[in-house]
């Protein structure tokens, strides 16, 4: 039974990674940049929920909605102020470093506003735990919620990208920015929309993460952010199903590594598997390997 329990936990953690990785992968696919501040948007989202519930006393649902709105606006603001001016910079590293600056900024704003102390996060999930196999296997409400949310987001996002006009524009921009512009697509608007969606997902991921692991500090988002980035690369960066597969695989590997090999070695195992995968499939599991034309 413990195996199944670990597997479920792994899928649950992986679902959170997957939701974060979606934000990474969409932004990478469209703006061709690694948004290092993405993990910190998660943390901000969690703080918004915590503050809204504790100080303003609103219901969990309203608090989550509030966090989604706040992070969406924040994401668009960051894109507009810090990333957009560097879109045509001479080196792609410029915007990467700026994203690191934004990451520091968000962490330190959180530090000033909320303090360095670890806050305990109250779960927003109202679902009771599911007891199976005569009490041998308990699946927490948070796990059910997380996996459910992940499935809903995955399906919704795929439909949006495939069917909607804005989704088509996104695909066009990620394929060829210049050509998309010539076809009358609003490239700036599309990129802003991508950041908005990515940040909204980050807010949801933040709530789910902190419901499952109920502690919150200004640095809470950093490591999951990096792991989700790894997940996105794992699955093939730029690919939405890739982010999903990468995220869930990563979560399962991490939990299994902790359970069966060594809890202290979990990070080394995760990163080691990543290296092996990239050496075998240099563009990730679902990534396209593009050869340079001579």
């Amino acid at each position: 039974m413990s195996f199944i329990s670990y597997l479920v936990n792994g899928i649950s953690l992986g679902s959170v990674y997957a939701i974060i990785a979606l934000g990474y992968t969409m932004v990478y696919g469209i703006a061709k940049m690694l948004n290092f501040a993405h993990g910190d948007v998660i943390m901000i989202g969690a703080y918004v929920v915590l503050t809204a519930m504790a100080s303003a006393g609103v219901s969990p649902v309203v608090a989550v909605l509030l966090a989604v709105v706040f992070c969406t606006v924040l994401g668009m603001l960051i894109e507009r102020v810090a990333y957009k001016p560097l879109r045509n910079a001479a080196s792609p590293l410029a915007v990467l470093i700026t994203a690191i600056g934004v990451s520091y900024l968000l962490q330190n704003v959180a530090l000033l506003v909320f303090g360095a102390n670890t806050k305990s996060f109250t779960s927003v999930v109202p679902i009771p735990p599911l007891v199976l196999a005569g009490g041998n296997l308990t699946i927490s409400g948070e796990t059910i919620m997380t996996i459910g949310a992940c499935i809903v987001i995955m399906v919704g996002l795929t439909l949006f990208i495939q069917k909607s006009k804005a989704g088509q524009a996104m695909r066009a921009v990620s394929e060829d920015k210049g050509a998309a512009q010539l076809m009358g697509i609003n490239v700036n608007g599309t990129i802003a929309l991508t950041f908005a969606i990515g940040s909204a997902l980050a807010a949801i991921a933040g709530v789910l993460l902190c419901s499952a692991y109920p502690t919150l500090t200004p640095y809470t988002g950093a490591m999951p952010g990096i792991k989700a980035f790894v997940a996105a690369v794992f699955g093939g960066i730029g690919s939405i199903p890739g982010a999903m597969i990468g995220g869930i695989l990563l979560g399962v590997i991490e939990i299994f590594g902790k359970a069966y090999i060594s809890s202290q070695m979990a990070d080394a195992i995760v990163f080691g598997v990543l290296i092996v995968v990239l050496l075998v499939k240099p563009a990730g599991i679902l990534g396209k390997n593009i050869q340079e034309k001579v």
Partner: protein, 355 residues
């Protein structure tokens, strides 16, 4: 021949700059004008400068993004600290011991560079970045679970805890897992650090302006063309990458021999550190060695200079970093700067003509 002189002159300015900063800092220390906090930063600063210069070799000259530079530093730091602690009684001369520690630290990091580089350098761009990041995290993780002790029977290893080392009672723990290495001789000094900076500069600058450096830069600019004129791409990529790693190892040796306790924390050997070094490189100018030095110094001292602002200092640091990036790299800002510079030049010229 004129160009030769231009390069020599530029290199000379870099060396002189380092020496002048060294003299100024020493003068401040001697006249008591430097806070003890600042003095404590001098040796780590030397390590950071070497890290920035060596990373610039990978990022600026070879043109590959590495996010695991701190991993190589970590290897150099732990191996050399381990060596120095073991040899404390065997080699009582601090100078010789330190020299050997440097050689061992650099060699170990360099070998790691080759081992990582062989499979990884075929990956491109962001994938290379993520694998180097993964490497750095793995090294950090391993250092946190490694226990090594020594007794009459020799060395004992474990990845669990001190007890499972199974040593005789008089055995000594050398590497104590998350508690790291305690009691490394504090042999690093500011002067040694500066000498090692000059040595690093000598290696990197001379490499860049030589046949091998030209080969490395030609691969950066156009790999396919480099192959077409018979340049061995793998060899020179690996060369640049491993030299860069070995120099990071040197920085690790300096860093380790300045600490009472060496531990592998996320902030000194994790990706945070790798990213901080990358910030130095990009802010100082990709491929610009002198810029890396200046950026490393300014950004290391900035939080200390802002100490008066207490809680706000890291916030201001972040804002300054973003602002500087936008000012240095945004095409609009560059255009505006050029326009302004031209106007200024024009005015100067007009004035000169008036006279």
């Amino acid at each position: 021949m004129k160009k030769m002189n231009k390069i020599t002159k530029s290199n000379l300015i870099t060396y002189v700059m380092v020496i002048v900063i060294y003299i100024a800092a020493q003068a401040m220390v001697m006249t008591g004008n430097m806070s003890s906090l600042m003095q404590g930063l001098l040796v780590p600063l030397c390590a950071y400068v070497i890290l920035a210069v060596s990373l610039n070799l990978t990022v600026g000259i070879l043109g590959e993004l590495s996010l695991g530079h701190a991993g190589f530093m970590c290897v150099g730091a732990f191996i050399s600290a381990f060596f120095s602690k073991c040899m404390m009684d065997v080699i009582p001369m601090a100078g010789l011991r330190y020299f050997l520690a440097l050689v061992i630290g650099a060699a170990a990091a360099g070998v790691c560079g080759i081992l990582i580089g062989i499979p990884v350098l075929r990956l491109k761009g962001d994938y290379l970045a993520i694998v180097t990041l993964a490497f750095g995290e793995i090294i950090k993780n391993i250092m946190n679970i490694l226990f090594i002790g020594k007794d009459a029977n020799g060395f004992h290893f474990s990845t669990k805890d001190v007890m499972s080392l199974g040593m005789e009672p008089e055995g000594k723990v050398i590497i104590n897992g998350p508690q790291g290495i305690t009691g490394t001789p504090k042999d690093s000094t500011f002067t040694i650090g500066v000498i090692l900076i000059l040595l690093t500069l000598f290696i990197v600058l001379n490499l860049i302006h030589s046949r091998s450096g030209r080969a490395i830069m030609s691969i950066r600019d156009n790999r396919i063309a480099a192959e077409s004129i018979g340049i061995n791409v793998t060899k020179y990529k690996l060369m640049a990458f491993s030299i860069s790693a070995a120099l990071a190892g040197v920085a690790g040796v300096i860093y380790a021999h300045n600490l009472a306790t060496l531990t592998a924390q996320p902030k000194n050997f994790g990706y945070n550190m790798s990213i901080m070094i990358l910030v130095f490189v990009v802010l100082g100018g990709i491929g610009n060695i002198r810029g890396s030095i200046i950026a490393a110094i300014v950004l290391t001292l900035l939080p200390e200079l802002l100490r008066g602002l207490s809680d706000y200092r890291m916030l201001i640091y972040a804002v300054v970093l973003i602002a500087m990036m936008l000012f240095n790299w945004s095409p609009k800002a560059i255009e505006w700067r050029e326009k302004y510079a031209e106007k200024f030049k024009f005015r100067k010229k007009a004035k000169a003509e008036e006279v």
